[in-house]
Amino acid sequence: MIPPPPSHAVTAPVPAASQLPVHTPVESYTLSDSVFSASPTRSPSIQLGLDGEFSEDSVNWMKRSNSGRFTVVLPTGGNSLTQAVEASIDENSGDIVEGSTQKNSKPLKEKTTKAERRALQEAQRAAKASAKVAEGNKPGGTLGMSAPAQKSKPVKQANQKKDVQPLASSSGVPEKKRGDKPPEKDRKKDVPPPRMQFDDKSRVEKAKKRSVVKQTEARNRVELFRHLPQYERGNQLSDLESTFFQHDDVHPAVYKVGLQFLTGDIMWSNTRCIAMLQAFQKVIEDYSTPPERTLARDLTAKINSSVSFLNECRPLSISMGNAIRFLKALIAKITLTQTESEAKSSLCTDIDRYINEKIVLADKQIVKHAVTKIRDGDVLLTYGSSSLVEMIILHAHELRRQFRVVIVDSRPNLEGQQLLRKLVEKGLSCTYTHINGVSYIMHEVTKVFLGAASVFSNGTVYSTVGTASIAMVAHAYHVPVLVCCESYKFHERVQLDSICSNELGDPDVIAKVPGRKNNCLDDWASNDNLQLLNLGYDVTPADYVSMIVTEYGMIPPTSVPVIVREYGQEHVLI
């Protein structure tokens, strides 16, 4: 057990006064002393200066060492932390959690003297030592430790009960833990779990057993993309349809959305996200808590199974991942005091609010921002079909700006044709070309507007495949590139290339050239040497992007981590 360096603790900045109770007790520290047996004893004055950063380290460290022996009460303001460690709740049994919370709250009410507390602590220490000897690996959080914050604000107990639960069960978080700097704590903990790697055979086997959608591995898999799912297509849909009545655990609304994802009826990331959230709304509406279960836990499990079903239909986009995180945070925040109907209705309204604020209103705001960049005589270039770019162009047209639009399109989806149709119908002057012709057309273009599936915190733009090429050519011809993206699609992940995480589409589409009867690659699967790769996304380096238009304003790609940091937690805290 290696304690965090003491110097760290000493030099750590003092948190906000509001969050630091005046009388920080010594006991709390001595507790952590007992946990970190090697850590030096400190005078109370030093402990006063202690703040979250020390405890953060210890939290992480505790997590790593995986010793969940102590019941620790979380002080106020730990919502985000609760959220962060939410995942670990699942592993612990509910009984212990409840038991521990009850015991936790009990001693808080009685005012203990300093001597009493010290005596109590001595007893704890002894108990802990014996537990250690007796290999106490299970959470034995029965020691009611009173936190100073709770002591000072006993009224809040009821509200905090929920906050207490997860932490109590998770691991020994020292009481020093204040609610200060929640985003940082969150970020540290919220590092996205490593994605499923499909070259890991044992995990793939496990996943297969669970899966609802029957998937057969594609025959000619691309070696470079073994870590991504490469499945045969075509028979999934019929399989799913035929076994509809066997999947009683999947809600019909989710089922419907899943089928739409599978067939590609819903393509845009915004529409996908909205469809998913609305399906979840229906799930929640039709949900009733089974006896002897808590709504928060059971509903989370229900949502989880729906999510994994949707993920099998089509890998979830990053924006959807963000939305699911938000939803789970909401569910986790439901307290026991709320009745089921209350909880359900509040969840549904919160989802509505999320859709409205994060997508609908954000889009409006982005359109407002972006339109200011369109002037008379401009030639705008856009790639594929982005709903946001379409709105911007149409709005600029409504404002009677005189401009032309160049639509660049590429196989296999040829989404640009839909956009072309919509714009031509509105009477806009359009030029249509394919992605190879982009170098030719770029001379006359004055601005490039692109949509994005996600923006990572190193400023790279994750978007439909081909976007990077367009941005590159625009960069080479010194044409500004504006990426339009709602901030709910931002993600703290970083990525350097398009190989590590991506989505593979149906390879058969590549073999079929539209408008041709005889394709020379019709029997491609019969030859082992031939693979077809239908890449879904690519990653545009940040230096190709001039600015990113979000609802918060127009920012350079270097400011994406700032948005993620400052606003990223917002949806969690709604």
């Binding site: 590429s410 002057s429 012709g437 170098s439 030719y440 090429s469 890449l535 690519d538």
Partner: protein, 471 residues
């Protein structure tokens, strides 16, 4: 059906596509496929539309041959620079063989005739640079053969002179003959210019000796003439045959170098299809190199599919990707190998559409961008605005079906200007800074060296094929 024509001066800036779009919309209204009228193929700012001075010396059957070829060029019946180059060379060969030559200045007459045809051919399809290249090559061959014949005769004369007057320094005259041969055989370069300066005395000595031997030359001239005329023609045709042979075997010549460039376990990316690339990759495969190939399909013609099929048949690991995935995949690629349509004197490449994008991506990831080009693709001209002027717009139907968007297209009729433009360029210009290496039949070369390589094959007098109407 009407086509907007830009005035000549702003024609340079005008995009070619305006025309094809007008055509497209007009054709839409009439509901038929536009059959690429010759009217469309104006494009010749390069070779301005000077009316050809009718050459009466061409015999009628060559006339029909030429016209036939012209029609094919105009209708784009001949595709691919190799096929075009071969056909052009064969046409010129038959023209030369049937050309009646005057007694004096035979080379001049021949050059004049070839230039006249060359002008016609290049204006018929100015984008197919290979035609102009071959015409210039043939002109260069004629000049060379002429010079070598004259130097041979001069050499003979100087030898005669040597025997005539013994006091003439044999060393000087031999050097003079050699210098003369060098100056005439070599294309203009700094070196030859400098060499011209130094052996000036030698040149005058040569002058002296030849003039001194003038009377003896006069005697032989008349008897020599007929044989010389036949010899010139014969020599020229022989060299043209060699040229045709060269064109035919350029693929093998290039493919021979494949082993030097492709190593084990390499990942190679190519776009579209090119005969040279197929041969190159297969040659490496035959030498037991195992490597993988990414083939970008090359919209809108998707020739990459054919290439992939061909490569797979030869047992190469091939992955077909969409053009849009090039940027994503290039980070895992060791080398980009592509074919070219033409190589300009500055080292820039006129390449199938999409390659500029690939070259930029390759540069970004520091992946070598290798261009395979047969000697017939080397063009001695420096390009100006090649993206537009050396480009051609293909039928929009390759991108959009004619029936597609017909409901929307009706909007355009009232306003006059069509709402929808469909741009389908055939070529991309890849600037020399994006090219890492050229592999030609003569070996690998830097882009910056191309001008010199080109200077070996063409004479400076032929760079402009068009003849002034006054002359």
């Amino acid at each position: 059906m009407e086509f907007r024509r830009g005035s000549n001066d702003d024609g340079l800036d005008r995009r070619f596509w305006g025309r094809s779009q007008a055509l497209w919309s007009a054709a839409k209204r009439e509901g038929r496929y536009p059959s690429l009228p010759n009217d469309l193929l104006y494009l010749s700012h390069w070779f301005s539309s000077v009316k050809l001075t009718q050459n009466s010396v061409i015999m009628p059957d060559t006339h029909t041959l030429v016209n036939d070829f012209l029609n094919k060029l105009k209708k784009r019946k001949i595709e691919g620079s190799k096929a075009t180059a071969k056909l052009t060379a064969e046409l010129l060969r038959s023209v030369i063989s049937q050309q009646r030559l005057p007694n004096t200045n035979q080379a001049g007459a021949l050059i004049h005739a070839i230039k006249a045809i060359g002008e016609q051919l290049t204006t018929a399809n100015p984008v197919e640079v290979a035609v102009g290249n071959i015409v210039r090559r043939v002109l260069h061959i004629i000049r060379e053969e002429d010079v070598s014949l004259t130097t041979a005769s001069i050499g003979g004369l100087s030898l005669q002179g040597l025997s005539d007057d013994e006091e003439d320094n044999p060393l000087v005259s031999a050097a003079a003959a050699a210098a003369a041969a060098r100056t005439t055989l070599r294309p203009p370069s700094l070196q030859t210019l400098l060499e011209d300066m130094t052996p000036h005395s030698a040149a005058t000595a040569l002058h002296h000796s030849s003039s001194s031997a003038g009377d003896s030359e006069d005697k032989t001239k008349s008897t020599d003439k007929n044989s010389r005329s036949r010899k010139l023609k014969h020599n020229v045709i022989e060299t043209v045959n060699e040229l045709i042979q060269d064109i035919a075997t350029c693929h093998e010549q290039i493919a021979e170098q494949a082993v030097e460039h492709i190593h084990h376990n390499e990942v190679i990316l190519t776009l579209g299809s090119s005969g040279t690339v197929i041969e190159f990759l297969c040659a490496a495969k035959e030498k037991k190199r195992s490597f993988r190939v990414f083939v970008a399909e090359g919209a809108p013609r998707y020739q990459g599919h054919t290439l992939a099929k061909e490569l797979v048949a030869r047992g190469l690991q091939t992955t077909v990707i969409t053009d849009s995935a090039v940027f994503a995949m290039i980070s895992r690629v060791n080398m980009v190998i592509v074919g070219a349509h033409a190589v300009m004197a500055n080292g820039g490449v006129i390449a199938p559409v999409g390659l500029n994008m690939v070259a930029l991506a390759a540069q970004r990831h520091a992946v070598p961008f290798v261009v395979l080009a047969g000697i017939h693709k080397l063009c001695p001209l420096y390009p100006h605005n090649p993206e537009v002027l050396l480009n051609e717009l293909k039928s929009p139907s390759e991108l959009l079906d004619f029936g597609e968007l017909s409901d929307c297209m009706d909007f355009g009729i009232g306003t006059g200007s069509p709402l929808l433009h469909v741009v389908n360029p055939a070529f991309d210009y890849v600037p020399p800074k994006l090219v890492s290496l050229f592999i030609t039949d003569t070996g690998g070369h830097n882009p910056s060296y191309m001008y010199r390589l080109i200077a070996d094959y063409y004479s400076a007098d032929d760079l402009v094929l068009q003849q002034r109407p006054t002359s």
